[in-house]
Symmetry: C2
């Protein structure tokens, strides 16, 4: 029986391999076989960790969420609109690491549309994300950057829409959407919001 | 050997079954077996039409493109901004039929990110779509609805981003994004564009 330290190290290896498969092939290409090949291990070993495809997908979602939550973040210069801008920059594929992360999440949309449990997870992810964006919109209203009449929920939904739709276009055309243009487009969107 | 008419009818049946599988499971769930089950036919019959998974996916893409191109369109009241609005309404999941279509295209993004040929098809789809949107933006500038200084390519990319990002949120939360709210959000986005 391996020592506890070995066990934890192996779990970390498995999670790392799962992430590499996700980054290369998305949730659609995630299989025990692909993870095993990535680890130069046997599928038999993997079934010890993941008795089913479902268990593998659940773990992959946890890995993707942890990676997303612990990644480096944009530093907002101030609350309100600058914080909203930073939060939206956080989801744009501005670096190779973020391209991989975006690619994983776009692939998750397909997986989630085909599975009610995963679909609910994605619905809740959106609810939480819009709530975080809404905090920045409300701060922007409080600071007089946006008009009192602004509906924070609507602006949060519009901002989320703009950012995710831009992500997809970038993934399919990185040459036409280099990081500088992504930022320019985001600033164009933000500056178009009606000002107080 | 079946008569030509039978052959064409069978091809139409196959395409219809392919579409139903796409609408229910997306490109990620598209298999010969699923199409055969949908037709109550044997997988053997299907291999006559599709010698490989690749051939099936190619045909499914053709079916999806044809369905998208021949669907009912919003009628624009005028060129310029009203035409831009109509073109963007065209991609929102406002009806059950359009929800299915959106679901298929979101699933295609994952398939296309994992396959260079399909990825190129999606890149080209975006290039063509932005070019169509750009025509409306240019008309809006020509009609004095948008400022002369507007960059049509940037507004086309922003509009495409906004619409597709909204599509994804709607698919995961139809109750929070009923058709009336989708339209309101789109109008909010359009009215935020700087006016001439």
């Amino acid at each position: 029986m391996p020592a506890r330290g070995d066990h934890d190290a192996r779990r970390a290896d498995v999670s790392e391999a799962v992430w590499r498969v996700l980054a290369a092939r998305g949730f659609g290409g995630l299989t025990l076989r692909a993870v095993a090949a990535e680890m130069t291990a046997s599928t038999g070993l993997l079934t010890h960790y993941f008795p089913s495809k479902r268990a593998l997908v659940r773990h992959a979602l946890d890995v993707a969420e942890e990676r997303s939550e612990t990644r480096a973040r944009q530093i907002a210069e101030a609350p309100g609109l600058p914080a909203l801008r930073a939060a939206l920059l956080d989801v744009l594929p501005l670096t190779a690491e973020l391209v991989a992360m975006s690619r994983v999440w776009v692939s998750f949309w397909d997986a989630a549309l085909g599975d009610p449990d995963l679909g609910l997870r994605q619905t809740q992810r959106y609810v939480r994300w819009r709530a975080r964006l809404r905090v920045h919109v409300e701060a922007a209203i409080g600071r007089g950057e946006l008009p009192e009449a602004t509906d924070p929920e609507e602006v949060a939904a519009m901002a989320a829409a703009f950012a995710h739709g831009l992500v997809v276009q970038v993934l399919f055309d990185p040459d036409r959407f280099p990081p500088a243009r992504q930022t320019t487009l985001l600033d164009g969107f933000l500056s178009a919001l009606p000002r107080a």
